[in-house]
């Protein structure tokens, strides 16, 4: 029995979410391999080989994999899946894009976004925006899984010494072409990796007002997030979104500013260690999940908080 983890990376470095997925894989099987598919990404394979508990790293380098096009990566994973009982990837936009395509090629029902492992065939996963937790048993012989990274600790990034094996398995369907990528440049941590997150909602009133959060974010080393309402209203881009259809986060400190606390938002952040809510509506549902609530006008409270923190 062997588990394969599809690494999340950018051809230069291994993304930390891969480590959480390795922990989930180790919970299923002691023999864990990591697939690093990309282009000129041997540095990533070397990083993956150091991850504690990993037995083998498969490295595949080709222009066909450089931009992680679903058609090409899914065919690759499917073609090498014969040796594996479990195939896992983090629930990132890449994981979500590729893994169902692998599952259908293998005629397997994917188990999406698992939050706990009960046994080698039984898993917990949130449904209905996390309002319910389903415990599901897979009757497929192969399990294809995406992993909610906040539900599993990160494996140790060092201490391992896995063998790196280079594969010559090139698939280029030639039906899709990468044009460009615009990745927001920021000195702040990524939402899914931040220890502190400060998120704004509809109460921010417009996009310019998000600058009120920046000073505090700088002081706390925090990432800035937003509710779906703020994204819907066009205040900030979608990659700020925390919630059911955005990112799932669980930082040490999560500060909501002008967020009412719709279930769709809570779905993305309620596993945070400490939640602070600042909202002028004392009946806002966010106060029912916050550890500390401050009923105040954010335009007065935030500058004061920034000056005193």
């Amino acid at each position: 029995m062997t588990a394969l983890v599809v690494a999340e990376h950018n051809n230069q470095e291994l993304k930390p979410v891969t480590l959480n997925t390795v922990t989930a894989a180790l919970g299923l099987d002691q023999d864990v391999h990591i697939l690093v598919a990309g282009n000129t990404c041997s540095a990533v394979a070397e990083e993956a080989a150091k991850v504690s508990g990993v037995a083998k790293v498969l490295l595949v380098e080709s222009g066909a994999y450089e931009n992680f096009l679903a058609e090409n990566i899914a065919t690759l994973v499917s073609n090498i899946s014969g040796d594996y009982d479990f195939i896992l990837a983090p629930t990132t936009t890449n994981g979500k894009n590729v893994m169902p395509r692998v599952a259908a090629l293998q005629d397997v029902s994917q188990i999406s976004d698992i939050s706990a492992i009960e046994s080698s065939d039984t898993f917990q996963r949130p449904i209905y925006a996390g309002n319910c937790i389903a415990t599901v048993k897979s009757n497929d012989s192969k399990k294809i899984i995406t992993v909610r990274n906040t539900a599993f600790d990160a494996a140790d990034a060092s201490g391992g010494s896995a063998e790196i094996i280079t594969l010559e398995e090139i698939n280029d369907a030639g039906i899709s072409k990468f044009v460009k990528e615009e990745i927001a440049e920021s000195d702040r941590p990524e939402l899914t990796a931040a220890d502190v997150i400060i998120s704004g909602g509809r109460g921010m009133q417009n996009g310019d007002n998000f600058s009120i959060l920046e000073g505090i974010a700088d002081k706390l080393g925090a990432a800035i997030g937003a509710s779906r309402a703020a994204v819907d209203s066009g205040f900030v881009p979608n990659d700020y979104q925390v919630g059911q259809t955005g990112k799932i986060v669980a930082p040490d400190l999560y500060i909501t500013v002008g967020i009412s606390g719709a279930i769709q938002h809570l779905a993305g952040m309620k596993d945070s260690k400490v939640i602070v809510a600042i909202n002028k509506d004392e009946d806002a549902p966010i106060f029912q999940v916050a550890d500390y609530g401050l009923v105040a006008d954010l335009f007065e409270a935030m500058p004061e908080l920034e000056s005193k923190i």
């Binding site: 931009n67 096009l69 679903a70 058609e71 990132t92 936009t93 979500k96 894009n97 169902p100 395509r101 599952a103 259908a104 090629l105 005629d107 397997v108 029902s109 994917q110 188990i111 999406s112 976004d113 449904i127 309002n131 319910c132 389903a134 415990t135 599901v136 897979s138 009757n139 369907a173 039906i175 899709s176 044009v179 460009k180 990528e181 990745i183 927001a184 990524e190 899914t192 881009p237 979608n238 990659d239 059911q244 259809t245 990112k247 279930i263 309620k270 400490v274 939640i275 602070v276 004392e282 029912q288 916050a290 500390y292 609530g293 401050l294 009923v295 105040a296 409270a301 004061e304 923190i309």
Partner: protein, 250 residues
């Protein structure tokens, strides 16, 4: 250009669902149902392409019980030309749904398939990608912009950290993200007109596809509840609590 738009009937997004008392599933008795919000965005995008003269026909399709006809009528009222219900009482998984959709794709030969990135009931986010594998079509998931010029389709995707643009060959599958468009409301005259648009019902069994579930739901329970904390009166008190009680800032 023919566009196929698979949609799904789900619990209305404002409803807070609860598990059944015997934990065998989610309690859906007397719950308001609606078209999945991402499917509404998919229908809207198809209608816009047709209005721009880039598509001739829009077919809405759903897999489900007879009650799903309601959502197909909504799609027709929003601008779809005809609809297909693949009728089954089985609560099919995304894999089974994709297989049934593949049969419809084989019959209808659409150039473009637009569907929601996920349904807000199961939160699986699988069907579009699985249909991509079964048809061998190209895919662009989580679309925030779709540009169709003749045979060339350019899609901007919402990815972690930013945006990605792909050029994909037709026939293609696009799944919708939130910012792709803002769906319209159906007008009363269009709701009336939708009643006379064609809606075919095909029993799922006639398609000869195995849709038996591979996953067994052992139980459905409530998540661990978070206890409400305290209300602080001032910013100073908040800072004091965060420093000295929660110890999350220094």
């Amino acid at each position: 250009m023919k566009i196929l738009v698979p949609i799904k009937r789900v619990v209305d997004y404002n409803v807070k669902v609860r598990p059944k008392s015997d934990e065998t599933g989610v309690d859906l008795n007397n719950v308001k149902m609606a078209m999945n919000p991402f499917c509404e965005i998919a229908v809207e995008e198809a209608v816009r392409l047709k209005e721009a003269g880039k598509a001739e026909e829009i077919i809405a399709v759903t897999i489900g019980a007879s009650s799903s006809q309601e959502q197909l009528r909504t799609a027709l009222a929003l601008g779809a030309d005809r609809a297909i219900l693949v009728e089954t009482e089985v609560e099919a998984e995304p894999l089974g749904i994709s297989k049934l959709l593949k049969s419809i794709v084989d019959k209808e030969s659409p150039d473009l398939i637009i569907l929601g990135k996920q349904a807000i009931d199961g939160d699986n986010n699988q069907t579009g990608q699985m249909l991509g594998a079964l048809t061998g079509f190209s895919q662009a998931t989580f679309a925030s912009e779709v540009n169709l010029e003749g045979d060339s389709l350019s899609v901007t995707r919402e990815i972690d950290g930013g945006l990605q643009t792909l050029d994909i060959n037709l026939p293609a599958i696009v799944t919708t993200d939130l910012r792709l468009n803002e769906p319209r409301y159906a007008s009363l005259p269009n709701i009336m007109k939708a009643k006379s648009k064609p809606l075919d019902v095909i029993p799922a069994a006639d398609l000869g596809v195995d849709i038996s579930p591979r996953l067994e739901t052992i139980k459905v329970t409530l998540p661990a509840e978070r206890e409400a904390g305290v209300i602080v009166e001032t910013v100073d008190e908040l800072i004091d609590k965060l420093k000295n009680e929660a110890k999350v800032i220094s």
